[in-house]
Symmetry: C2
Subunit: 448 residues, 2 copies
């Protein structure tokens, strides 16, 4: 997959937000080697079992066959622990809170742009702590950062929760996730955070001397989001005319399209447009001018609709005469989304545009939330679950079943347990399998 500039700019927006949030919690960026000795991967038993089928291997370097193949990083727990076991000596070295922005490879059979690609870009956080409680706290803290990003920046409502054992990360004690409903009602795992316990610490002998001078294993977390988020944003909000981008992440927030037919109109229109561009840019709005006269205004309208630009401003000779412009919203297509006679006086326009951008951001989240909530069905029996999944919806039910029962449902319906939501509905629940009381509900859905 190639990421062209417009898509990459969305990723830069994601990075900017996340990186600042990570640093605010004390995390520092670092960089670990991409090529990992094969023997590292095999040290943690469930890790190698999970990742071995999808590894890319470097077997030749500098013209020679390598003695040991090198794994092209699918994730970095092993190489990170190889270093942590050397860096960490004492409880004074803890917690160690690291993150890296990088590329990873997973040799997938079926790929889909942004959602499942052989190579993708991500960040992977790796932390080491003196106690199990701290590792758990950090894993929870980071899934909350992801959930907040999804809600406030991507306008993508997510259900944060715990993965089932079957669906957890290979090598984790527990995996937390944020699950989003796409426009086709399939679930997308949009970010995960793992409490790794001392599994990797034991495999790599990552120990420290505690304040009593006793040797202890560290407790760890790891957590990541990837360019998959871009796919999630596109598939949550898009419609038949193309993308609809949330204003906070849109590379272009406002496109300005000048319109004139006669040459003598040009000067006045462009003067008005220049004033709009400069006042919005000064106000920090990401603004783009398209004055290309080889394309018609109609062609441009379609083009920027397809690209999901939140606001289009049109300026023609009649607008100029009134000191005004037309503001059109991407999320409300057609005449209804157009506001005529909007003043181009800088302070007024700036307020207007910021209000509309905020309104678009909020109503995108609201619309996606309503859509999701309307498509989650509480089920009590296997028949209800099957019917719900067949209808393409999400099924919520009490669950105390076994791993085997969970796998059997996947086999039969194609749906998996997406998560046990942190936010559990009130009342009593009964297990879908046994009909007996269940502590928690889970959500079954088909997923990407």
């Amino acid at each position: 997959m190639v990421i062209r500039p417009y898509g990459y700019a969305i990723w830069e927006g994601i990075q900017k937000y996340m990186d600042a949030k990570f640093k605010a919690t004390g995390v520092q960026n670092a960089y670990f080697p991409q090529l990992i000795p094969y023997s590292f991967i095999t040290k943690e038993a469930s890790h190698v079992e999970g990742f071995a089928p999808e590894l890319a291997l470097v077997t030749r370097g500098g013209g020679k066959e390598l003695e040991e193949p090198l794994v092209v990083r699918p994730t970095s727990e092993t190489i990170v622990n190889n270093m942590l076991s050397q860096w960490i000596q004492s409880y004074r070295d803890l917690p160690m809170l690291l993150n890296q922005w990088c590329n990873v490879h997973r040799w997938e059979m079926r790929t889909r742009p942004f959602i499942r690609t052989l190579e993708f870009l991500w960040q992977e956080g790796h932390t080491a702590h003196a106690t199990a409680e701290e590792a758990e706290e950090r894993a929870m803290q980071m899934i909350r950062v992801y959930a907040e990003f999804a809600q406030t920046q991507a306008a993508m409502p997510v259900i944060p929760g715990r993965k089932s054992r079957v669906e957890s990360f290979a090598g984790a004690n527990v995996t937390y996730t944020i699950e989003a409903m796409m426009g086709d009602k399939k679930a997308l795992q949009a970010g995960t955070s793992h409490n790794l316990g001392d599994n990797f610490a034991k495999a790599f002998d990552t120990t420290f001397l505690d304040d009593k001078g006793e040797t202890q294993y560290v407790h760890q977390s790891s957590w990541g989001v990837s360019t998959r988020l871009i796919g999630g944003i596109l598939m949550t909000h898009g419609d038949d005319s193309g993308l609809i981008l949330p204003p906070r992440l849109a590379p272009i927030q406002v496109v300005v399209v000048p319109i004139w037919k006669k040459d003598e109109e040009k000067e006045a229109v462009m003067a008005s447009v220049d004033s709009i561009i400069s006042s919005l840019s000064n106000a920090g709005v990401r603004t783009h001018l398209d004055a290309d006269q080889s394309k018609s205004p109609g062609w441009k309208f379609n083009q920027y609709e397809m690209k999901g630009v939140p606001i289009r401003i049109e300026v023609g000779p009649k607008d100029v005469a009134k000191g005004a412009c037309v503001v059109a919203r991407r999320d409300v297509p057609g005449k209804e989304g157009k506001e005529f006679g909007v003043s181009i006086e800088p302070a007024a326009l700036e307020t207007k545009v910021n209000d509309v951008l905020n309104d678009i951001q909020n109503s995108m989240l609201q619309k996606a939330t309503e859509f999701r909530d309307a498509n989650i069905v509480d089920v009590k029996t296997m028949d209800e679950l099957k019917a719900t999944i067949e209808a393409g919806k999400w099924a919520r039910c009490g669950w105390e079943g076994t791993d085997e029962e969970e796998k059997a449902i996947k086999e039969e319906t194609g749906a998996t347990i997406r998560c046990f939501p942190f936010d559990q509905p009130a009342g009593e629940h009964t297990c879908l399998m046994s009909g007996k009381p269940a502590k928690e509900v889970c959500i079954f859905a088909k997923s990407y």
Copy 2:
């Protein structure tokens, strides 16, 4: 090579500066696949000749032997052109100005931290233009961006110039470089920019229809700097006590060390220190407090000297009594670098600290420039050249020699032509080999 947070923070400073400069010239970021089909690399004859010996190859993926090995990106001209040939149709698509921040691998025999590593981080710019002139202009523009970074941010004086044919990039018509002198007087190629002409365009059929409807090859540039710059900064400025970091790139610009012996002194000292930290931080100074009482002040002084922190502020009970602190400069060690009785009144301290940071930045550049200029010798004969190289210095001389003569000098002295400086000395030059008039002087030196 692992890059730990303190080193990575220097890289983040480099990225922040460069990325903004690139974007100001119209460049956009993108991302291309890391694994490149081997056949792509072989399409440009001199390119494959240059890179083949140092490639890492993926031969297995997802448990299967691959039909065609994949090259782990050593640089991306080939995969970029594979895409550009599909994206570029018309002169309206030009110029195309792309950059990517990524990792690359070159299977080097001898490695050295930051300077020559099997894997390194870099940015690689790739541009396509309608005319040869535009490609040349872009190649020159970017080497000037690098030179300006080196001078103004890294305090690393560089000589920008043109590489000899022998030393140019595999596949380029001409390579521009910035060459820096390290503390051991070896030369470091700190950044390069290539005019690729239409070499890759011909190999990949990257063409466009010009405004007359005729098919033309694009003309291209590519340019990059890497984590090698970190090595350059360390080796330009360091001394026997450790690093000396230029203030504009130092992850910590000011470390504050509170000093007290008796418990009753603590409160007043810490109140003073907190006031210093908050006023400097508010003023945008990257400030770090080290109040760890398990380490002595002397130990801390050594520690932050080793880490190259430009300014250390000491606050003890006597300082508190005077509403003052001690400001110590890393670049002027010992008593001479200490200023006593500096007011901690916020506005005064902020001005003081900013003045000292600027002064350190300027005097680091000046010192390095004087050191470099004192170690460049104008030579007229082979004997002088040999003596100069043996003395570890740089030799400057007129040069009209052949590629073979240049290689013979490398064989005999270990020195290579670093560049033909853009800034040529006045007067007439004679060729070192023939004694006849030479258009230009070049610089011979041993290099990393």
